[in-house]
């Protein structure tokens, strides 16, 4: 199949989702700044969301989408909500970490090392 010549379909969305997901993972790995890691997580969740929406989209899948009904979109909604919640908790942890260590560098969080 050829992505460039085909009309936009689920595959296209999956590719975008995969790219977002991968960048998110790389971001989580690469960043030493706790906030950067957090942003990586956001990207990962966002990539997953793209997939959910694509699978549940009636535009992209036509009648096939009705197999999933609203599940795709509802799942995406829940992911968004949980991502927001996760961001809040992660930020609180970062803040606490910053209070204790005066830095947001995650490599310095080695208190549990023997």
């Amino acid at each position: 199949m050829n992505l460039l010549s085909d009309p936009v379909g689920v595959s296209h969305y999956l590719v975008v989702g995969a790219l977002l997901f991968t960048t998110g993972v790389v971001c989580m790995v690469v960043k030493r700044n706790a906030l950067g890691v957090l942003m990586g997580i956001e990207l990962v969740l966002n990539g997953a969301n793209v997939n959910f929406v694509a699978f549940g989209s009636p535009v992209l899948r036509g009648e096939q989408a009705s197999l999933l009904g609203l599940d795709g979109q509802a799942m995406a909604l829940f992911v968004i909500l949980l991502a927001a919640a996760e961001a809040a908790v992660a930020l609180a942890i970062t803040l606490n970490f910053y209070n204790n260590h005066a830095t947001v560098d995650v490599d310095r969080a080695d208190d549990l090392k023997g």
């Binding site: 699978f55 009636p58 036509g62 009648e63 096939q64 989408a65 009705s66 197999l67 999933l68």
Partner: protein
């Protein structure tokens, strides 16, 4: 018009559609820019009259009509300064972020029946969400300016706008609940008829909620007495302390257009939108669907109605600004969290109960709206009212296969 171009002039279809898109974008943009010019002039005149002055009197005749234009030219000619130590990219991009956010929000706002950039079935939600992005540019500007005053302004704006979105959302939910849809066109259309059909007068709760909305709207667009982000007597000029020239004017335009936007939103949600207090067109037996020319005229009347209401809202904001002192940041937050949010929540519950007790409403003296079937067929239910073809078609893929797909 698109059809006219395609059929009569014989333009290729893609060009026509592109032209149409550009045209509507230009219309909205001009509405914003032109509106900002008019409102800046009006602000000067209104403030002058309030303060026992004359205001601009020379540029462009005795009323200073062209004053804002002259100001604009001056701003264009002004040097765009950037402080040393500023984050150059973010500093440059911040005004445009603000401006784009308020521009994009206009896409969802209907100006008259059926006259909307993009009719979304989540229209009101979209408008509020995009409007909330305006704060983003402000925060970027505050951070990127490398000035402490800017940073203070940005932090205040962030705290304020994020907080005020909660009661603002709750206020907006009330008309959405009454209309049963988030589609702004439908919400406006449901208030057709005499002014008693307006959601403002629907029940006592909506009446209160309207004033909470006004408070929150003023706060969320940073107008006095909630203009803490720029608070010139405390923070010099707040987030735009370091801005000058054209970039500054973009912030300015964004401020005025979001003022206009929240006023327009208030008009659609509470004040009947494009429906005048007296249903003139209906009384004359006309409606948007009556015919090409008459329909256009009726729409123009609706447009005038909505613009008038929105302008009135903007003028009231100016009146407030030139009358009241500024609140302190903790008082602004108290107003939001201790007063606006609980009141909005209580009024929401009240309106819900009212709707349950009087499902038909009590003040609907006369339903002077258009007779169904003229044009509203399929419109009142929102853009998805017409059942999509795909939904009616029988399923072609067996369920097992679909599950397998997802799992795979």
């Amino acid at each position: 018009m698109a059809e006219y171009l395609i059929q009569t002039v014989g333009l290729p279809e893609w060009l026509t559609w592109s032209l149409m898109a550009v045209l509507s974008a230009v219309l909205i943009l001009n509405l914003m820019a032109g509106g900002a010019l008019v409102f800046i002039w009006a602000e000067r005149k209104v403030s002058a009259r309030i303060q026992d002055r004359l205001g601009p009197t020379r540029t462009g005749g005795s009323f200073g009509w062209l004053q804002s234009l002259a100001d604009g030219i001056k701003l264009l000619a002004k040097e765009d300064l950037m402080p040393e130590g500023a984050d150059g990219m973010l500093f440059r991009v911040a005004p445009y972020v603000s401006f784009c956010a308020s521009f994009a929000a206009f896409i969802g706002l209907p100006f008259a029946f059926d006259m909307v950039g993009l009719r979304l079935n989540v229209g009101v939600f979209y408008v509020v969400a995009v409007l909330g992005l305006e704060v983003f540019g402000v925060i970027l500007a505050g951070y990127a300016s490398a000035s402490k005053w800017s940073l203070f302004g940005a932090m205040r704006e962030a705290a304020q706008v994020v907080s005020y979105e909660v009661p603002l959302g709750m206020c907006i939910v009330v008309p959405v609940m009454l209309a049963g849809t988030m589609d702004l066109v439908t919400i406006g259309e449901k208030q057709a008829g005499w002014f008693t059909n307006w959601y403002l007068f629907h029940d006592p709760f909506t009446f209160v909620v309207f004033w909470v909305y006004v408070t929150c709207a003023v706060a969320s667009v940073n107008r006095a007495p909630f203009d803490l982000a720029e608070a010139e007597s405390e923070l010099v000029a707040g987030f735009h302390t370091e801005y000058s020239g054209l970039r500054w004017s973009f912030f300015f335009m964004a401020e005025y257009s979001s003022m206009f936007l929240v006023s327009g939103l208030a008009a659609v949600l509470f004040l009947g939108g494009w429906n005048g207090p007296v249903p003139l067109a209906t009384l004359a037996g006309l409606s948007e669907g009556t015919g090409e020319t008459t329909g256009a005229l009726v729409r123009l009347l609706g447009l005038a109605n909505l613009l008038g209401k929105a302008t009135l809202g903007v003028l009231i904001m100016m009146w407030i600004r030139w009358t009241l002192p500024r609140l302190r940041i903790d008082q602004v937050m108290t107003t939001c969290l201790k007063y606006c949010t609980p009141i909005a929540a209580a009024m929401f519950a009240g309106a819900m109960v009212w709707l349950w007790v009087f499902p038909g409403g009590v003040l609907n003296l006369d339903d002077g709206s258009r007779r169904p079937g003229e044009i509203r067929e399929g419109w009142l239910e929102g853009p998805g009212g017409r059942a999509p073809a795909a939904a009616t078609a029988p399923a072609s893929i067996p369920a097992e296969e679909a599950v397998a797909e997802v799992a795979g």
